[in-house]
């Protein structure tokens, strides 16, 4: 196993706008090791979501180097990127992003379709994951029949189903109340204890508190990078 999961050097990203190029990320440099639990913080427009999309291989940087699990992402073609998203990364979104037509079990099993796992094996693995997030009894329900917190747990199960090294969560508690947020974060904590690297984007200090390391963005630059100090939260 590679010790370094994410290595980003001199990453730049700019968007063309009517007023010329807008720099969303400026010379970002970050290394995340296996087993870390990192919260990426910052106000909206600070570049944290853009950074997250690049980490998730959904977007590409304008400049700079991004090595994910030992592979330089800029050199990969679209199919190889899809494979990375399928095998190495698990995504959790703010809006859950479950497919409404499908049962929870089928939603969780969906990533397995794209790496050619047989039907029986898919069902079995998906059910295991649903059990892990405590929703095995609702396997055949549809997403709109369960609560938001439960939907997010299904989304986490889906992210886990292919046993990724890395989970990327973009504001996973943004649509949840504080109680269910806590449940979801505790789930992330326990996954981290099992050795999965977690990178989480949030603007809420209460949520960032669960992470072991906090990285703060401002105007496209990293302005602070430190271990979580629990005393600080209490004051």
């Amino acid at each position: 196993m590679n010790q370094v999961v994410i290595q980003v050097e001199n990453l730049n990203k700019s968007y063309p706008t009517s007023a010329g190029l807008f720099p969303a990320l400026k010379d970002v440099k970050l290394t995340i090791n296996s087993g870390e639990f990192v919260a990426i913080m910052g106000q909206s427009g600070s570049g944290k979501s853009t950074f997250m999309n690049i980490l998730g291989c959904l977007d590409s940087a304008t400049e700079g180097r991004y090595v994910l699990d030992g592979r330089s992402v800029a050199e990969l073609n679209k199919d190889e990127l899809a494979l990375l998203r399928n095998r190495t990364i698990g995504f959790v979104f703010q809006g859950f992003n479950l497919l409404q037509r499908m049962s929870l079990l089928e939603n969780v099993a969906l990533p397995l379709i794209y790496c050619g796992v047989a039907h029986h094996k898919r069902q079995q693995r998906a059910l295991e994951m649903l059990t892990k997030v405590g929703l095995e009894s609702k396997a055949n329900s549809l997403p709109n029949q369960i609560s938001g917190g439960q939907q997010q747990r299904v989304a986490i199960a889906r992210a886990l189903v292919n046993q990724p090294r890395l989970i990327l969560a973009d504001e996973p508690t943004g649509n949840l109340d504080s109680h269910t947020s806590e449940e979801v974060m505790q789930l992330f904590e326990s996954l981290n204890r099992d050795g999965i690297t977690i990178v989480l984007v949030t603007h809420e200090p209460d949520i960032a508190r669960y992470a072991k390391r906090q990285v703060r963005f401002l105007d496209g630059c990293i302005v602070s990078d430190q271990a979580t100090q629990h005393a600080e939260v209490n004051t």
Binding site: L58, D59, C115
Partner: protein
């Protein structure tokens, strides 16, 4: 993999049933129209072929030339230049299957209290072969009847009905111009000819009997026309040439002088009739194909709407690891399933309406495996062709844009 995707396509179609059904309807009507039109067209072609076969196939008709007497020109056959021995000579030519010298006329026929005016054909037994005309009951007269000019006759269905009603004519004696004729057999029904005349309203007697005892002839042994059947259609031009040469030689016509006979190819007229029905049925098929095309455009339209509607779903699928070709296959398969299902329903509809047309109007329809195959493969092609563009559009979406789509 394919099965999963088929399952997904099925589910996506089920999510909006009415829309799927309406999209399919375009294909259903298109395929149905193609199948029906082709069935009707091929039926018409078959009917024409039957008529041609009834007339006899690969036929030439030799007519005696016209005569000019005191400035008055008779029509074709007025000058009886052809003889039965010409016919015998032609029979020796290679490629000739049957030769029938014909001496026609018409007369009043009497049986008991009934009488009927009908056409009388004096010929030889090979006349029946040349015209592919089977005997229905009794038997045909033979060459020995022709040699000895016996008074025997074969009677067509219409003439028999008018003279005998429902009685069996075989063995009965009729009178033609006061002479008694024994009916040996009845001819099978042949129906209407190419010119609309009832071919069954006729009586056939031996050639020599017609020449010597019924109509007489100015030139002994002469005949009005000779029917010649060749073995195959391909050989007809060769036979035509050798026949012309033979007759010119026999009639002692010098180079540069006109023939004293004329030669007609009956099959040519029939061929052109067949050709025109073929063109008509192709035209029908082409018009029906337009509706198939319209159906295909309908599929493309709906698939484009579907891709837009499911942009977010596409984004999610891409984020969890779907490759471009997975997305492409998903939407392409959906289009194919819609068009193939529509095609199957269209086939049933087309066959059903073709059979209904047949039973209601009595028109002959022919549903060939070929037309079904054509309709089916065209429909599948339409599905792939019109499904490809929307599917490609889906596959090339930017995952981030797609995920942001509301």
């Amino acid at each position: 993999m394919m099965l999963i995707m088929l399952g997904e396509a099925w589910r996506a179609m089920g999510a909006n049933r009415l829309r799927t059904l309406l999209t399919m309807l375009g294909m259903v009507i298109g395929v149905g129209a193609v199948v029906l039109m082709m069935a009707v067209g091929q039926g018409a072609q078959y009917a024409i072929k039957q008529t041609i076969a009834a007339m006899g196939s690969n036929l030439f008709v030799l007519l005696s030339g016209s005569s000019t007497a005191g400035g008055v020109r008779s029509g074709g056959g007025g000058n009886l230049t052809l003889t039965a021995s010409d016919a015998e000579a032609i029979a020796e030519l290679p490629g000739v299957q049957a030769v029938a010298p014909i001496h026609p006329g018409s007369a009043q026929i009497v049986y008991g209290p009934n009488n009927w005016n009908t056409s009388i054909i004096g010929s030889t037994p090979s006349y029946l072969d040349a015209r592919s005309w089977p005997i229905s009951t009794g038997a045909a007269f033979t060459n020995s009847d022709v040699r000895s000019a016996t008074r025997v006759a074969l009677i067509g269905k219409t003439a028999a009905q008018n003279l005998f009603g429902d009685d069996d004519p075989v063995g009965k004696t009729i009178r033609i111009r006061q002479s008694p004729f024994v009916i040996l057999g009845t001819l099978a029904a042949k129906g209407q000819g190419m010119d609309g005349r009832d071919q069954d309203d006729t009586i056939i007697i031996p050639l020599t009997t017609a020449q010597r005892k019924v109509f007489g002839s100015q030139v002994p042994g002469s005949v009005r026309m000779v029917m010649v059947q060749t073995t195959t259609q391909e050989i007809m031009p060769i036979v035509e040439k050798s026949m012309t040469e033979l007759l010119r030689q026999r009639h002692r016509i010098r180079d540069g002088m006109d023939n004293d006979f004329s030669l007609r190819n009956l099959t040519a007229a029939a061929d052109s009739a067949e050709e025109s029905t073929r063109v008509m049925s192709m035209l029908l098929g082409a018009i029906a194909s337009v509706s198939l095309l319209v159906g295909g455009i309908g599929i493309m339209n709906i698939m484009l709407v579907s891709v837009t509607e499911r942009t977010r779903e596409i984004g999610i699928r891409m984020a969890i690891g779907a490759r471009q070709k997975d997305i492409l296959m998903q939407f392409l398969l959906e289009a194919i399933v819609i068009s193939v299902l529509g095609c199957l329903i269209g086939l049933l509809l087309g066959i059903g309406s073709a059979l209904l047309t047949e039973s209601l109007t009595g028109t002959v329809v022919i549903i060939s495996a070929n037309s079904i195959l054509v309709a089916f493969s065209v429909a599948a092609t339409v599905g792939i062709f019109f499904g490809y563009y929307p599917a490609r559009k889906a596959a090339q979406l930017d995952p981030i844009e797609a995920l942001r789509y509301q």
